[in-house]
Symmetry: C2
Subunit: 322 residues, 2 copies
C-alpha cells in the first residue's frame, strides 16, 4: 500500500491533510508536525500546530473565526484577567493576548499533566489523536524543547529577539523581521519522525510557511539529509500563490529574509530536498523558472477553500511522486 | 489595635472569618491556612482551603451548591473527559471526580504559572487575595510541599494509604479511616506564619476539622510550641456541636482515631495549645467536663448558618482572649 508522510505546519497543512484523507486510508498517512511554535502559558504546554491539525481533521474547528474550536467559550481566560490586572507583565501578561478557550484548555491540561508524568510529546500526541477518533499517525518532529525566535527589523524594538508567539499572536505578525532562529540546543528529530520520512512511498511538504513552519523541521540535524536522500519522491506544495501567502506572513517574511516571494523563491528554498514543486494555476507562467531551479513543476489549483480542491491536490501530489 | 490571627481549614474557617471581618478591620486579621489538602491535578496547583476562604470572603461562592464559584460552568472538565476516556487511570483519572469549574481554573492557572516562575505560595496567595480586593493577610502555613495521607480502615482497600483528596472527594469521606499522616519531609512553617502566631493579640483556632485541617498545621515543627507559649490568649472554637460535625467527616474521624466525638474530645486535643474552648449552646452540659481538661469553656451559639452568629461568635472569641 502507498504510504504518505506529510511535513506540516498548521492551518495549510491541516487543510491539505483533510483532502489527503479523502483519497487514501487514514492508516496510510503520517503527519510530521512543527513544534517550534510550542509555548508554555500559565504553566500549560501549548502545541498550536498539533492542535490545529487535530481539531481540523476532527471537524471541530470554528471555520468562521478561522481558529479554535466551534462553540468555544472564554470564561477561564476572562477570569484570569482579575489576576493579571493585579500583576501585569511577566509570563502572565500573555493572557491579555493569547486567548485559550475553555474546551481547548482541556487539551493543554491533558498534555501538561501527561508530560509532567514523564510521557513524551510523541506519546501524548498519539493519545490526543486517538481521543478524537482520528486514524492517521501524528508525530511531533521532536520531543525536545525547540523554539522559533524572531528578530524585529524596525520600530522602537528593532534588533530585539522575541518568541514566535509574541510575534505571531501579540504583534499579529504585522511587523517586519530581520532574522529567524531556531533555539534548539540539542534537540533531535525523533527516530519515529525520521523513519516516517525514510519509509513512506511519498513525502509531501504541505503548503505551510517555508520559514517558520517547515524551516524548524529542516533546522533539526539530519532532516534535510534524510529528505535529500529520497528527493525524487518528495513533493512540495507552494504556500505562495500569485506572489502572496493565502494566510499568515510567509510572503512578507520571505522578502524580509531576502527570498523572492514567488513560487520560484519557494523552489530555491526546497531544491535540496524536493524533486517536485506543485504550484497554483495562477503561477503557470513561472513553471519554466521553477524547473530551472532543478525541480519538476506541476501546475494545478491549490486554493483549498474551494470544495474538492484539497482532495484533488492530494491526488496530484501522490501521482507526481509515483 | 487588637490584631487577630486565625488558624484555618476551609469552609468553617471561611465563615468564621466572614464574621470576624464584620467586627474588626480586615487589616488587623491574619489567616494562617492549612495547605496539606493541596494537590496537583492536570498539572495545576490546587489549594482548596486557600481558595475556599478567598472566594467566601469575596462573596463569590455558590452558597446553594456549597462549594465553588457562583455562576460557574464546567466546560473545560467536560472536554477533558474525551482524553481521560482514552487513557483511564493515572493522575488524570481525577478528572472524573475532581471537578474544576472554568472560572475557578483561572485561579489554579495563575497559581501554577507563578509557582513555575519561582514565586512562593505565600507570594501568590497575597496576590490572589489582593486581586479579589480583600484586606486581610492570608498566609499558607508553609511554602513547602506537604500532604495529608489517610489509611483506610476497612473494605477491600483496608490498610491502603491514599491522598486526602482521594479520600475526601473521590470517596466522599464515606469510608472509615485507621490513621492520618502528614507527609512533609522537611516542610517548615513559614517565618511569616510563626510571626503571625507570636505577634497577634489573639489567636483563634477556627471551627475546622481538628485532625485534617488544624492537625497539619500542628504537625509542622514549632507550631505547637509557639501556640503553647501564648496558650492563654489562644481561643479554639469547637467544630463538634452536639456530638456531630456540622460539615465533613470530623466526628467520624475523631472516633475512628480514638478521640471522643464531643466538645470534651476536642478540648483534650487542644488542651496543650489553647486556654479557651468556645462550644455551642447545645453543649452547655459539657462545660464542666471541658474545664476539667484545663481549658476555660465559653458557651454561645456557634452555628454560623444563622445570620449574625458568625460576627457574635468572633466578638466572643476576641473578648475571651482579651
Amino acid at each position: 500500500m502507498t504510504s504518505t508522510t506529510v511535513l506540516c505546519g498548521g492551518v495549510g497543512a491541516a487543510r491539505f491533510l483533510r483532502g489527503l484523507l479523502d483519497v487514501v486510508p487514514a492508516t496510510s498517512v503520517t503527519a510530521v508536525v512543527n513544534t517550534a511554535d510550542d509555548t508554555v502559558l500559565h504553566g500549560l504546554a501549548i502545541s498550536p500546530d498539533l492542535d490545529t491539525i487535530t481539531y481540523t481533521l476532527a471537524g471541530a474547528t470554528d471555520d468562521e473565526r478561522g481558529w479554535g474550536l466551534a462553540g468555544e467559550t472564554w470564561r477561564a481566560m476572562a477570569a484570569l484577567d482579575r489576576y493579571t490586572r493585579v500583576r501585569p507583565g511577566g509570563s502572565l501578561a500573555a493572557s491579555t493576548w493569547f486567548n485559550l478557550g475553555d474546551t481547548d484548555l482541556a487539551t493543554h491540561l491533558y498534555r501538561t499533566a501527561r508530560l509532567a508524568e514523564g510521557a513524551t510529546l510523541t506519546d501524548v500526541t498519539a493519545e490526543i489523536v486517538r481521543a478524537w477518533g482520528l486514524g492517521l499517525t501524528m508525530l511531533p518532529i521532536t520531543d525536545a524543547r525547540f523554539r522559533t525566535m524572531v528578530t524585529l527589523a524596525s520600530g522602537p524594538d528593532a534588533g530585539t529577539e522575541i518568541s514566535f508567539q509574541d510575534y505571531f499572536v501579540r504583534l499579529r505578525h504585522d511587523v517586519p523581521v530581520r532574522a529567524v532562529r531556531f533555539d534548539h540546543d540539542d534537540a533531535r528529530p525523533t527516530p519515529a519522525a525520521l523513519d516516517a520520512i525514510d519509509a513512506a512511498s511519498v513525502v509531501v511538504i504541505a503548503p505551510s510557511n517555508p520559514i517558520v513552519s517547515i524551516g524548524p523541521l529542516r533546522a533539526l540535524p539530519g532532516v534535510d539529509e534524510h529528505l535529500g536522500a529520497r528527493r525524487d519522491s518528495v513533493v512540495a506544495v507552494s504556500p505562495i500563490v500569485g506572489g502572496s501567502a493565502l494566510k499568515g506572513p510567509a510572503d512578507r517574511m520571505l522578502v524580509e529574509l531576502g527570498v523572492e516571494s514567488t513560487v520560484v523563491g519557494v523552489a530555491r528554498l526546497y531544491a535540496p530536498i524536493a524533486g517536485t514543486l506543485v504550484v497554483d494555476s495562477v503561477d503557470a507562467p513561472y513553471a519554466a523558472a521553477v524547473e530551472a531551479e532543478g525541480l519538476r513543476c506541476i501546475v494545478t489549483p491549490t486554493i483549498m477553500s474551494q470544495p474538492g480542491v484539497a482532495a484533488a491536490l492530494a491526488r496530484t501530489c501522490l501521482d507526481a511522486a509515483g
